[in-house]
C-alpha cells in the first residue's frame, strides 16, 4: 500500500541579515533619514489627535524599516508602465520614501478641505494618489487583495516591468480575499506580476496572531500555489531592502507573483482607539538601526539626533500651517459622486 500521509512542516525560510550592512553608505543614510522623518510625522499625527486636532489616528510607527525600503524600490508614476500600489493604512513611511510631502498627511489628519487624498472625508493614513498609482487605502480589511489581480493583469498585458504591490496586516489574512489574491495571481499560464506583502506585527487590534492562526509562517500560504515565498525581518532596513529588492526583481522580470511576509513591530498600539502610546516591549527599528549605524561609524548618535530634530521641527511647522486651513463645507457632500465628464 502506498504511504498514507505525512505530517508536513512549514517550508518558507525565514530570512535575516542580522549582522551585515552590505549597502552603500549613502543609501543607509537616506533610509535612516526617511525612517526618522516618517516617525516624526506619525508622532505629530498622534500629538494632533491627543490635542483634539483630529478625530482618529491610525498609522505606521514601527514599520519604517520595512516601509522605507519598499518606497525606495517602487517604480513611481501613473499608468500600467509603473507600479500599482494597494496599500495598508500604516504606510506613511512608504509614501515619504517615494517623495511625498508629509504635510498632506497632516491635512488628512485634520480633515481639511485641502487634504489631497480625500478632501477631509477619510481617516488619517488613508492615502490615495493617482499620479503615483496609489489606489485609495480602504478601511475594510483585505479588499485590496481582491483588487490587486486586476491592476496586475493590465500590467501583464502591457509588458514592461511595472508590477502591482499589495500589502496588508497579519490578522487580515484570515479574510477570504487574501486567498483570492493567491488564486487569481497563479492561474496557470496567467500568473500575474504582483508582489503580495503581509506585514506581520502579530496583532489584530487586541487579538494576537498566536491565538488565531495556525500557520507557522504566513508566507507558507503561498506554497500550495507554487508561488515563491519568504518571511523576512522587517525591523531591519538592510535585510528588508535586500530581500525586497530580490523579490521586486523577480516579479518585474518573471512576471509572476511573490509572497513576502515581513515581521515588524506595532509601536504605538493599534490606533488612537487603544490610546496610541509608545509600546516599550516591541523592538524599535529606528533605535536598533541607529545603534548599528553608530557602531559602524556611519552615523553617530548625535548626528542621528540632529536628523530627528530637523524633521520634528519641520513637521511642527507644517502642522502650524495646516491649522488654519479650511474644513470642507457641508454643501459639498455630493461632490465627486460621479466621475467628471470631459
Amino acid at each position: 500500500m502506498a504511504p498514507r500521509e505525512r505530517k508536513l512542516k512549514a517550508v518558507a525560510p525565514l530570512v535575516t541579515h542580522s549582522d551585515e550592512l552590505p549597502l552603500d553608505k549613502k543609501l543607509l543614510l537616506q533610509m535612516h533619514e526617511m525612517m526618522v522623518k516618517s516617525r516624526a510625522l506619525e508622532e505629530r499625527l498622534i500629538a494632533m489627535y491627543k490635542s483634539g486636532h483630529g478625530y482618529f489616528w491610525i498609522g505606521g510607527p514601527g514599520e519604517e524599516a520595512f516601509n522605507v525600503p519598499l518606497g525606495l524600490l517602487i517604480k513611481k508614476g501613473q499608468g500600467p508602465a509603473f507600479d500599482f500600489l494597494h496599500f495598508h493604512y500604516r504606510q506613511s513611511a512608504t509614501l515619504l520614501a517615494m517623495g511625498e510631502d508629509p504635510i498632506h498627511a497632516l491635512r488628512q489628519m485634520k480633515n481639511t478641505a485641502t487634504d489631497p487624498y480625500s478632501g477631509g472625508r477619510n481617516f488619517a493614513g488613508h492615502f490615495s494618489k493617482r499620479e503615483w498609482n496609489i489606489v485609495p487605502v480602504s478601511s475594510p480589511i483585505e479588499v485590496q487583495y481582491a483588487m490587486a489581480p486586476g491592476t496586475a493583469l493590465v500590467q501583464k498585458r502591457h509588458g514592461g516591468d511595472g508590477i502591482t504591490v499589495v500589502t496588508g496586516g497579519d490578522a487580515g489574512t484570515a479574510e477570504g480575499d487574501f486567498a483570492s489574491c493567491l488564486i487569481w495571481s497563479t492561474r496557470p499560464g496567467n500568473e500575474l506580476p504582483v508582489l503580495i506583502i503581509v506585514t506581520n506585527n502579530k496583532w489584530g487590534i487586541s487579538t494576537s496572531y498566536a491565538t488565531q492562526q495556525g500557520a507557522a509562517r504566513l508566507s507558507d500560504r503561498g506554497v500550495a500555489f507554487q508561488m515563491r515565498t519568504k518571511t523576512i525581518d522587517g525591523n531591519d532596513p538592510v535585510s528588508a531592502y535586500l530581500e525586497l529588492k530580490e523579490a521586486f526583481e523577480y516579479v518585474r522580470t518573471e512576471r509572476k507573483p511573490y509572497l513576502v511576509e515581513a515581521n515588524i513591530s506595532r509601536l504605538y498600539g493599534h490606533s488612537s482607539a487603544s490610546g496610541a502610546n509608545y509600546v516599550k516591549d516591541e523592538a524599535d527599528c529606528i533605535t536598533q538601526f541607529e545603534e548599528r549605524l553608530d557602531e559602524r561609524g556611519i552615523l553617530s548618535k548625535k548626528e542621528a539626533q540632529a536628523v530627528r530634530e530637523k524633521w520634528v521641527e519641520a513637521i511642527a511647522d507644517m502642522a502650524r500651517k495646516v491649522k488654519d486651513e479650511p474644513q470642507p463645507d457641508g454643501s459639498t457632500i455630493f461632490d465627486h459622486t460621479w466621475a467628471r465628464e470631459d
Binding site: 499608468g79 500600467p80 500599482f84 489631497p116 487624498y117 480625500s118 478632501g119 472625508r121 477619510n122 490615495s128 494618489k129 493617482r130 489606489v135 485609495p136 480602504s138 475594510p140 479588499v143 487583495y145 481582491a146 483588487m147 490587486a148 489581480p149 486586476g150 491592476t151 496586475a152 493583469l153 493590465v154 500590467q155 502591482t164 477570504g176 480575499d177 483570492s180 488564486i183 487569481w184 492561474r187 461632490d335 465627486h336 459622486t337 460621479w338 466621475a339 467628471r340 465628464e341
Partner: protein
C-alpha cells in the same frame, strides 16, 4: 429579431470593437460556454474566471483602476450577495478620493424569476442595488433597450450595474437592432455557437452601430389617461398585457434606468392620471418601488386621486421551486391586472 441574450452579445461585441471594452469575464463567460445564458458567446475578450465572486468584482475594480474597461458577470444575482462590500467600495471610490479614481466598469447579472429557478436562481437585485450609492443601475425589458443600455453602460465612466431579466433573455424583440439581419435564422447562424465542438467556431458579426439608450431616460411604452403604471424587467410586458386584457387606458412607463431614474417622466404622467401603480418583483419590504411611492407622496400628494400602489414580490425567504410556489411569490399577470383594475376604480 434578436432575443435579449443575442442583443447583449452584439452590444458587447460592438463595445469591444469600438468602445474600448477589454475584458468580459466571469464564471463560464468565455469559451466554450459563452455564459449560462449564451450572452457572451464568441466575444473576443471573454474569459473564464475562478469560481469566486469576490475575485470577479475585485478584479473588475483593479482593471478599471489600471485603465482597462471591464464587463464582469456574476452568473446569477443570487450569488452576488457576498460582494456587497466591494460593490459599495466601487460606488464610493471616486467620491472618497475626491474624483481622483473613477471606475469605468460594468457588472451584469441575471435577475428575477420565471424559469422555475427555485430558491437560488430567482432572486431580484433591484432593491439591494438601488440602496448602493455611486452606481448607475439599468434593467431593460426589450432586446433593443438591452442593446442600447449596454452601449451606454460601456461608455460610462462610473460603475454600471446591468440587470438582465432572466425570463426575457430568450424572448425575441419586436424592434430591430440597427444592423441585425431581418431573419432570425440568419442571425442565429451568424452569431450563435453551434452545439457540439466549438473549438473552430467563429461568429460572423453583423455590421453594428452605436445605438445608445441614455441612462436615466424612461420609455413610455403606451400612453394613457386612466392610470400610470411604472415597471421594469420581467413585469413590464405583463403590465402591458394586463392593461390590454382589462381594456384599461393605462399609461405604461418602462423605467429602464433604476438609478438615476426618470422622475420627470413619472411625474408628468402621475400629474395627468392621478393614479399610479409601481410593479416589480423584488421582495416588498424595503423595496425600490417603495422609494418611488415615497417620492410620489412627497411631491405629488395633492394631485393624487387614489393612493399610489405597489405590486411586488411577497416577503418570503425564497421562491419555492414548485409551480404554485413561484406563482404565489412573485407578481403574475393576474395579480397585476387586478391591481390595475382596483386602482383605476378606486374611490375614497
Amino acid at each position: 429579431m434578436a432575443n435579449m441574450a443575442q442583443a447583449i452579445r452584439m452590444a458587447l461585441h460592438y463595445a469591444e470593437e469600438n468602445l474600448g471594452v477589454t475584458d468580459i469575464f466571469g464564471e463560464d463567460v468565455g469559451a466554450p460556454l459563452g455564459g449560462v445564458f449564451t450572452a457572451t458567446q464568441g466575444l473576443k475578450t471573454a474569459w473564464n474566471t475562478p469560481l469566486d465572486e469576490r475575485g470577479i468584482i475585485g478584479t473588475a475594480m483593479g482593471l478599471a483602476m489600471a485603465g482597462a474597461r471591464p464587463v464582469a458577470e456574476i452568473q446569477f444575482c443570487d450569488y452576488i450577495y457576498n460582494t456587497i462590500d466591494l460593490l459599495k467600495l466601487a460606488g464610493n471610490t471616486c467620491w472618497a478620493s475626491i474624483g481622483q479614481w473613477n471606475l469605468p466598469m460594468v457588472v451584469m447579472t441575471p435577475v428575477g424569476s420565471g424559469i422555475r429557478g427555485s430558491i437560488y436562481h430567482s432572486h431580484s437585485f433591484d432593491a439591494t442595488a438601488t440602496h448602493i450609492p455611486g452606481w448607475k443601475i439599468v434593467m431593460p425589458s426589450t432586446p433593443l433597450d438591452a442593446y442600447g443600455l449596454m452601449i451606454s453602460a460601456c461608455r460610462d465612466k462610473n460603475p454600471v450595474m446591468f440587470l438582465k431579466p432572466k425570463a426575457l433573455l430568450r424572448i425575441r424583440g419586436e424592434e430591430q437592432i440597427p444592423g441585425e439581419p431581418g431573419d432570425d435564422k440568419v442571425l442565429s447562424k451568424m452569431i450563435d455557437a453551434p452545439l457540439g465542438d466549438r473549438s473552430k467556431w467563429k461568429p460572423q458579426w453583423p455590421e453594428l452601430t452605436a445605438y445608445a439608450v441614455p441612462i436615466g431616460k424612461a420609455k413610455i411604452v403606451k400612453t394613457g389617461g386612466q392610470l400610470t403604471v411604472v415597471s421594469y424587467g420581467r413585469t413590464l410586458p405583463l403590465c402591458v398585457k394586463a392593461a390590454a386584457d382589462a381594456g384599461l387606458d393605462a399609461e405604461i412607463i418602462d423605467l429602464r434606468s433604476l438609478w438615476p431614474y426618470d422622475w420627470e417622466c413619472i411625474k408628468e404622467s402621475v400629474k395627468k392620471t392621478g393614479r399610479v401603480l409601481f410593479v416589480n418583483e423584488d421582495t416588498e419590504v424595503t423595496n425600490f418601488g417603495e422609494h418611488l411611492v415615497r417620492r410620489t407622496v412627497e411631491e405629488l400628494f395633492y394631485e393624487l386621486l387614489a393612493p399610489p400602489r405597489l405590486v411586488a414580490g411577497k416577503f418570503v425567504p425564497g421562491i419555492g421551486l414548485a409551480d404554485a410556489l413561484e406563482m404565489a411569490s412573485v407578481p403574475q399577470l393576474k395579480d397585476i391586472g387586478e391591481a390595475m383594475q382596483q386602482l383605476a376604480a378606486e374611490a375614497p
